[in-house]
Symmetry: none
Subunit: 205 residues, 4 copies
């Protein structure tokens, strides 16, 4: 069931792996700086120079580890996708055999918490441009969530698990609409959560 595997390669491919402790710290700092700026101004509007400066590094250092701007985004996303994958993996044991509604709540909360921690994930996965690595990340996520719903008791209608695996993460994107005031955003989030629950608990099938 190791769906999460095979992506360490993605990270390695996108960035030159540092071999010393200092290098590893640098890479972490650079990624954090990039994540922050991508969220704040978007991928295109963020410059490599800014990222390096934000991380307290020289532009040369940045390019030492990340040979191009797209590869930096890819490396960052690979790491974030791994984190999310791990969190979803952890739900497997907890939700197996539960009702679809309960599973939905669990997934919903896990995603909400993850996106609150890592807003760069949403900023990058929604960015224009259909790179294959982005598609790969989406597919992995879909398979994982689909697997969670597939174990619902009572079982869902055939095919519905797959559709839910597509719908639920998309519902999450809504929390990102940063332009709305915070209380309104939470009201929306709550509404969506309830909506999903109602849908799955609908009395007569």
């Amino acid at each position: 069931m190791r769906i999460a595997s095979g992506n360490a390669d993605l990270t390695v491919a996108a960035s030159r792996a540092p071999q010393r402790a200092r290098g590893r710290r640098r890479v972490a700092d650079l990624m954090a700086a990039a994540a922050g700026l991508f969220v704040e101004k978007g991928f295109e509007a963020t410059t490599m120079t800014e990222i390096a400066a934000q991380a307290g590094a020289s532009i040369g250092s940045l390019y030492l580890f990340f040979p191009t701007k797209p590869l930096l985004a890819q490396a960052l996303m690979a790491e974030l996708a791994d984190t999310l994958s791990t969190r979803l993996e952890a739900l497997q044991a907890l939700t197996s055999g539960q009702s679809a509604g309960a599973i939905a709540d669990a997934v919903f909360d896990a995603l909400a918490a993850f996106l609150a921690d890592h807003p760069a994930y949403a900023a990058l996965i929604d960015a224009p441009g259909d790179d294959s690595w982005k598609q790969a990340i989406r597919i992995r996520r879909r398979l994982q969530i689909g697997a969670l719903f597939a174990r619902a008791v009572p079982p869902l209608a055939p095919g519905q698990a797959e559709v839910l695996a597509l719908v639920v993460p998309q519902l999450m994107r809504i929390t990102l609409q940063t332009s709305e005031p915070q209380p309104l955003r939470e009201a929306v989030l709550g509404e969506l959560r309830k909506m999903l629950r109602h849908h799955l608990d609908w009395p007569l099938k």
Copy 2:
């Protein structure tokens, strides 16, 4: 260019007529080209030169009609927002006094049809950068949809119309995930529609 002399202007007007028609066609072509490229590569990654080329015009022509790139986007969005506004307006009479569920279906379908026709709307409203005109468009949309739900019979709980006005358009963003195959996208759309309906028809406890 005479200033105040009767029908000299008329003569000029007649000879100008085809030119104005040509100008309008030009503007339409440029906007269409911009819309297509914004959807394909995003606002930032699209260049003014590309837009002109795609429209079969020169870069000079493009700047003749749209003095800056943001203003081009804004003009495009203004037109699209008007179209959407008109369509929503048309729902007022049709849905007044209906159930919230029925209204939701109507709004849902109107939005889905509109976004299918004009994917640039979503591409631009979601682009990073918080211009005030973008906010204004969102607010207008929210007020319009809120007004629709406000007339539901039986009436919704206080405040829920506003939340729905926020949630429903966001649900629509999901249909944009162009990377998914068409049948899957429609399954998702149907699921969301049903979800919304279930939510609104939920038996009050």
Copy 3:
């Protein structure tokens, strides 16, 4: 016999063709500047900024017509190769039916004159890097010179025309050794010319 054809494409491919008189002059100036600098400091050591400055143009103008540095070199070479090709073409009528020695002298002189006029040709064709367009230029030249020798009377031994087509241009490269003082270079050139003549006029076959 239109060996010289098919290369206008190369030029067009490498540079955006200017459409106005001013543009055409600009392109010529830029190419001349590039040619001069390539000869003086070599392809790699010449910067695009220098070329633009030398031509009295902005860096943007340079890139308007030549999208990359290698393509600038390619466009320049395509033009020079066309010039050379034309000159060799002109020898066809003059040398047909003459002795191999006489043909050799004619080719030798034509090449020497061409290289004196266009030292950039040698600088670029000898530069490292085996681009296919460079190979194409060499092949075209070889075929043209081979065709000249093929019409020698009395005829050369089979295959020798091809070998000479390879040897003679290479002999010319020697004149480029710019580090030697001018009189010495001319002595060398004369010696090579005589050497070639002796070789072809060698009494007993």
Copy 4:
């Protein structure tokens, strides 16, 4: 090749012996890597990092032995020039008193063999940039070859030995045209050899 200086540290010498052997191997590897890359892509286009990587060393190691890139090229050329010089020296005894034609053949073959073994020699001596050390190498070579021809019996016309000393090495550059297929290159080499011979054996009129 004074890498480690003096002998003040004879005591340490013993314990250092294996290390020095390793050092010498390192230096040789680095030079070989540099030579290969210079031939393949030219001096300018080859980076120090590439050279180190190709030699399986770190960039730090490379700079430990060669303080700058030009000095690396110079050291490499010094070694190659010594090798060539030794080979030419060996011809002195063999060719003394022979005919100019025989001497030409001997020099020709020696140069051809040397360049086949060490293509980097030609790549570097032809590279743009007129460093004095390059000029020095050329002068040494010219003097050596001139000395060989000066001992021809019967003697050459005055000044011709010097011209030949310039011409013959240049003839050799032709063998470098690596883009041609091997058999053709050998045909060219043979033709040149014969040409030189004919020239020198030309019956005096």
